[in-house]
């Protein structure tokens, strides 16, 4: 199964400050009651948005100026907690195609790459600069180049990193791996045949 190549993500940004933003906040559990991912984008950060409204603030995901955002800026350990793929699905369906942060929770990262949502990391200092740059002008686009591993936004140009396997998957268009796992299935059969628990623990 082939997937499209993803080498460059370009577009307006959206800033979501805060460390340890968990997937329950990205998409509260009550919206997992469905058998498809359809419509999740309407509920992304729903409770946080309501909390902001009650406090007289505008949540970044409710800011009309950020409606067309393609790149999300976050801080440390973004996406921690539940393994729900609904979280990256909701972000993706909201139009986001890249998340830039100082670190990501592991399951969220894997789930994101598996659906073609690029997560790249930058240093905390660069993250602060980028967030300031994004705050200054909602219309300013940023470009994440996965080939050159660089992010450009106005006058700011910073290096980004991504684990080589995840980057290669996106750049080569092999991020949807199911087909690869089914290739040369005789190798799988051979490994399984040697596992003691699949042979009633009889000697090989």
């Amino acid at each position: 199964m082939s997937a499209s190549t993803i080498t460059r993500i370009e577009g307006p940004t959206l800033v979501l400050r805060g460390d340890d933003v968990d997937t329950d906040r990205i998409i509260p559990a009550r919206f997992l009651k469905a058998i498809t991912f359809d419509g999740l984008e309407a509920h992304v950060f729903e409770d946080d948005r309501a909390e902001a409204t009650r406090a007289g603030r505008v949540h970044p995901f409710d800011d009309p100026a950020r409606r067309d955002a393609r790149v999300l800026f976050v801080n440390h350990n973004f996406g921690c907690g539940s393994s729900r793929e609904h979280a990256p699905q909701a972000l993706y369906r909201r139009g986001l195609r890249a998340v830039v942060g100082s670190s990501f929770a592991e399951i969220f990262f894997g789930n994101s790459v598996a659906i073609g949502l690029a997560c790249v990391t930058v240093s905390p200092a660069d993250m602060a600069r980028l967030m300031a740059e994004a705050d200054a002008d909602a219309a300013r686009a940023c470009t994440v180049d996965l080939h050159g591993l660089v992010l450009e936004m106005g006058s700011v140009r910073v290096p980004v990193s991504m684990p080589p396997s995840a980057r290669k998957g996106l750049v080569d268009g092999t991020w949807d791996v199911t087909g690869l796992l089914l290739d040369r299935y005789e190798d799988v059969t051979r490994v399984a045949a040697a596992l003691p628990y699949l042979r009633n623990f009889d000697a090989a």
Binding site: G18, D24, R30, T36, E46, A105, G110, A114, V188, D202
Partner: protein
Amino acid sequence: MAETLFRKVWNQHAVRQLPNGQTQLYVGLHLIHEVTSPQAFAALAERGWPVAAPDRTFATVDHILPTRTLARPLADSMAETMTSALERNCRAHGIPLFDPSTGSQGIVHVIGPELGLTQPGLTITCGDSHTSTHGAFGAIAFGIGTSQVRDVLASQCLAVSPMKVRRITVTGRLQPGVYAKDVILAIIHTLGVGGGAGFAYEYGGETIDRMSMDERMTICNMSIEGGARIGYVNPDQTTFDYLRGRRYAPQGDAFDRACAWWSSLASDPDASYDDHVTIDASRLAPMVTWGIDPGQSAPVNGHVPTTADAPAGDRARIEEATAFMGVVPGQPIAGTKIDVAFIGSCTNARISDLREAARIVRGRHVAPHVRGLVVPGSQAVAVEAEREGLPEIFRAAGFEWRFAGCSMCLAMNPDRLNGREVCASSSNRNFKGRQGSPTGRTLLMSPAMVAAAAVAGEVTDVRSIIGAGARP
């Protein structure tokens, strides 16, 4: 060459290196449930793929089941739709489904071990982050998303990146009233909620060695709350004794052969680790969270931190947490008023958890303003509890005794907080809105501490109750 259990199990399941550099890993056991599998089955149907190993795939329904009545159709039409979809998918692909009619239904991480499906040396995946629980048996078990559920259904394999191993040695004897839950909360507090990223945690040392399987499961269960996708304990006699005679455990001579293999998988004494941390458990007090992640905890005799005490990088997070929780920096942890007491979840709803909580509430009554709920982890736990008379103890104390499921841990069923209620909870996550009310507040603690809080109507040190004569 000296190796860790992690490497030994990984190497035995590694199929090949994929073009992107990841490892194709064979999955020995795939557990599925109603929330994260329907989209994966739909993807298979779309591509016309069969399930590769229906005999290594087992299903249950846990997240969305109501706990008051199991009458079908379920009152919540979406819950009914999800349950029916799972039934249909399991039937279509020949996957065993442990639904309530089997007597083996329960939270997926409770029933896997109970049935003997969870064994040392397996690679185990499930579309649920608390799959780390199964590591208590010396399995390499981790949570996956729905795309990966699709991958495992289609190929019984996953593409995975290598991980580092951090050894966490726990020493010292736990004081009465201090439990495995307190140990893991202390570990998460020490290493941080993101501290385990990229690591598998190997728990060992005399304290872990002395623990029962139930306690080891509690520890491994919450590895993910420390950012570690995998947590495990090396298999030993405690593990073997637990598994002997269970339905899917090897039987007869095969069990002895299995024990020999399982023993060989334990980390070698001179294995090297990427990191090593030691925790002295002898000084631990019962732990309680005061904030909005499982790392924001303090001993019950401690205080909510002040931002002045905290590293600069933590201050914004502490301010966010104290504002949401409505607590004041410096406020004592004990004495925090509660509205709801929840004993349940894959972390702490096994029989030993219920016994310990029952020991605290026996002959006492929940405070008049407190709503108390006991949700056993599985039907088998419920049957054993009934045999021991635990539901009567809980009911006499004013608790509701419910059917098995995930319930108020994440409130995908009707069990949830209302408004800004504060819940003393034996579950694993105190995230904002986690228990079903966007403004609801969760205080994580051990089941015994939940029981004590229910009785007192506020957070209280269970050691004072045990000292005052809880009957064993």
